[in-house]
């Protein structure tokens, strides 16, 4: 009996040990250097306490990056789920099972594309002179449309690419989830003359609450890692209009200054903020 209980620990310990080393060592090191004044060009550094953290709050780019990151998170997660649910329901209601499978296959293509490739393709598509996406506007009005150079539209345009990749993929998941639901509640609702939207709003979606929340969490985490998409499409510009926290931390650490301690303090704050936010949301949901 004793042997049976210790077996999971025997198998788990090495894997957990490796994971702990891989995750905890860099985290601890990042926390340590965030209290220093190290720069790439000067390997020696000294402890400066919370100076980096205090400086962050008077840094307009950091404050701007918090706003951009929160907007990015809200827009991409919200729009992805809306598109996924809307499209999933539309496919379930209006398309034959055979055609659904074909469309599902097509909807998977964007997410299979490497993020950087997708970013390049769309960057060219949005080019004001040669872009296919901006061509209709230019043809109708005679004026070029420069969405990525306009501070008012740049973030939304990049978000569109993110939603294109993930919204279609999640639509397939929602469709497959709807197909697994038992038909009886739907039939009962129809007998009671419920409208289609009422069936989905009050029966289907509440039944799918748990998987939809899981999808929302997956997308929230994924949206935090949108660095590659933004880096390729706008590099944080125009100005700092699309500069997210990870983008700014990378700029400070490696592109502009080489201030790795300052960049680490941003990374540590991000880690603390996301841990608290996710724990809070998870508890609320449960």
């Amino acid at each position: 009996m004793k042997q049976k209980n210790s077996l999971p620990a025997v198998f788990l310990t090495p894997a957990m040990g490796i994971l702990a080393v891989l995750a905890l060592v860099p985290t601890a090191y990042a926390i340590y250097i965030s209290f220093q004044n190290r720069e790439l060009s000067r390997p020696d550094g000294s402890l400066i306490g919370f100076a980096n953290y205090i400086d962050l709050f008077s840094d307009r780019r950091f404050v701007n990056a918090i706003g951009v990151s929160l907007t990015w998170e809200a827009v991409t997660v919200g729009m992805t789920l809306l598109i996924a649910i809307g499209l999933g329901i539309l496919l379930f209601e209006c398309v034959s099972p055979r055609a659904r499978n074909l469309l599902a296959l097509l909807f998977l293509v964007p997410v299979i594309l490497p993020r950087v490739s997708a970013a390049f393709v769309w960057k060219f598509a949005f080019h004001p002179l040669y872009g296919i996406a901006t061509y209709p506007y230019k043809a109708i009005t005679g004026e070029p449309l420069d969405l990525l150079s306009n501070p008012a539209t740049a973030l939304a345009t990049v978000a569109l690419v993110d939603v294109w990749q993930w919204g279609l993929f999640f639509a397939v998941i929602v469709l497959k989830l709807l197909e697994t639901l038992p038909p009886q509640p739907f039939e009962a609702a129809r007998l009671d003359h419920a409208r289609t939207w009422e069936i989905y709003a009050f029966i289907a979606l509440p039944m799918l609450k748990a998987p939809l929340i899981s999808l929302a969490f997956v997308k929230m985490i994924e949206s935090l890692r949108a660095f590659d998409l933004i880096y390729v499409m706008t590099r944080g510009g125009p100005g700092i209009a699309t500069e997210t926290l990870d983008m700014y931390a990378f700029s400070q650490g490696f592109i502009e200054s080489g201030r790795i301690s300052y960049a680490s303090s941003m990374a540590v704050l991000m880690m603390i903020a996301t841990s608290i936010a996710f724990t809070f949301i998870w508890k609320r949901v449960q």
Binding site: R42, P144, S149, R235, G236, G239, I240, S251, G258
Partner: protein
């Protein structure tokens, strides 16, 4: 006449290759693979066809080049050189040579550069930007200054003579701007970065008499910078769409695709604009030095010896040999033969009969004339990328309209510069 020219250039080539064979005789003993981190250049790609030649020359060593675009290359070289030092040879440029040299990330080139390869033959402007603190740090792979490149057909149709002064240039740009016909007056760089929008802005700043620092005190926050920025923003009203957040690629692409009347850009543009393979406007292009009082932006990119990956003298000598071979007269002659105008750096090649045969006497004259107004426009300091990139962001904000007060932007940069100097001490 053509036959005579061909004969002269054949003799010149024979001379160059015989020099190459002489240098083969001084073969070193190297082994393994020399790892190079670079940005894409036709000249480097061409080198890969001659790997076996380097193997023979070095006594058995090979080389492997990893390519990243300019901004990524800058970030990656900085990260690699300051941490693990995986690369034996780094591609560095005028903007970060001071940083790499002062941080000890690269070794002084001339200590390991074989004398036979004649470093003094490189264009003097490029030698100047490869030098920091009295030492040479890289061998040029590309470089030059600025040229005003224009569409002869459009200027003639509008009855405009090629501008010689900035006022004439601004007036011409305004007159030539015809968006309804798909022609824009100019193309500038709006993308943030010390090597992007700031690079194109600096000739205005220096041309109006601006200076970055007086000793350790920032002095750029004055009327020259304001006037330079106002002029730059004025010209942006006539700049091709996409250039507001675009860099070299967008500006050059707009010109070579026939949508821009005139622009001031780095000299390699000419090679692309007159080549029918890469330009729709080949045969319609004229070039002159930048209009007065603009200075040309002197620049140079090249190969440097990584200090960490080459811990001992022998490996540094091998890296030095690779750099010398890669930038040698023989390899430049091959680049000339392959019509890679932007990859030419040696005086002997640029004054050769073959060069004149390929590009005509006008270009040689324009390059010589622009050399007279070419200057080092940036602040030669390890902190330059940091300061330049910060101004690049503010300038991009001004260009795209998220900020409108030029003086306020310069004041912000002034505060940043003071912090930067204080931090470096």
């Amino acid at each position: 006449m053509t036959k005579a020219k061909t004969l002269v250039s054949s003799i010149a080539f024979a001379c160059l290759f015989s020099t190459g064979l002489t240098t083969l005789a001084v073969a070193a003993e190297c082994s393994g693979t020399i790892k190079v981190l670079a940005q894409p250049r036709d000249g480097l790609t061409l080198l890969e066809d001659y790997k076996s030649e380097f193997e023979t020359l070095s006594g058995g060593a090979s080389f492997e080049i990893d390519y990243l675009n300019e901004n990524d290359r800058r970030a990656k070289t900085k990260a690699d050189a300051s941490t693990i030092g995986k690369y034996n040879v780094y591609y560095i440029d005028e903007a970060n040579v001071a940083l790499f040299a002062s941080a000890g990330w690269v070794a002084p080139l001339m200590d390991y550069y074989p004398a036979d390869y004649d470093y003094a033959d490189f264009d003097p402007g490029r030698q100047k930007v490869a030098t920091y603190d009295g030492k040479v740090w890289f061998a040029p792979i590309t470089g030059g200054g600025d040229l005003m490149v224009y569409r002869k057909d459009l200027l003639e149709a509008a009855g405009i003579a090629p501008p010689k002064t900035l006022d004439e240039y601004v007036a011409a740009v305004k007159k030539l701007n015809q968006p309804d016909q798909g022609i824009y007056g100019t193309a500038l760089r709006g993308q943030r970065g010390s090597g992007a929008n700031v690079w194109r802005w600096m000739p205005f700043f220096k041309g109006f008499g601006g200076n970055w620092f007086d000793g350790k005190t920032p002095v750029f926050d004055g009327e020259q910078a304001v006037k330079a920025t106002e002029t730059y923003l004025e010209l942006f009203k006539y700049s091709a769409p996409g250039s507001q957040t675009g860099g070299w690629d967008e500006a050059v692409g707009a010109f070579t695709s026939g949508q821009v009347a005139m622009l001031i850009e780095s000299t390699p543009l000419v090679g692309m604009a007159i080549d029918p393979k890469s330009s729709k406007v080949a045969g319609k292009v004229g070039y002159l030095p930048p209009p007065a009082p603009l200075t040309g932006g002197g620049y140079g990119h090249g190969l440097a010896i990584g200090a960490k990956a080459n811990r001992d003298e022998a490996s540094r000598a091998c890296a030095g040999l690779f750099i010398a071979w890669a930038t040698s007269k023989e390899n430049e002659a091959r680049r000339l033969e392959a019509n890679q105008f932007s990859e030419l750096n040696r005086t002997s090649i640029m004054t050769s009969p073959k060069f004149a045969e390929l590009y005509g006497p006008d270009l040689g004259q324009a390059l010589a004339d622009t050399g007279k107004v070419t200057a080092v426009n940036f602040w030669q300091s390890p902190q330059w990328p940091d300061l330049g990139d910060r101004w690049g962001i503010i300038l991009e904000e001004l260009i795209t309209g998220t900020r409108s007060d030029i003086k306020e932007g310069l004041d912000e940069l002034d505060g940043f510069a003071k912090d930067l100097v204080a931090r470096s001490q």
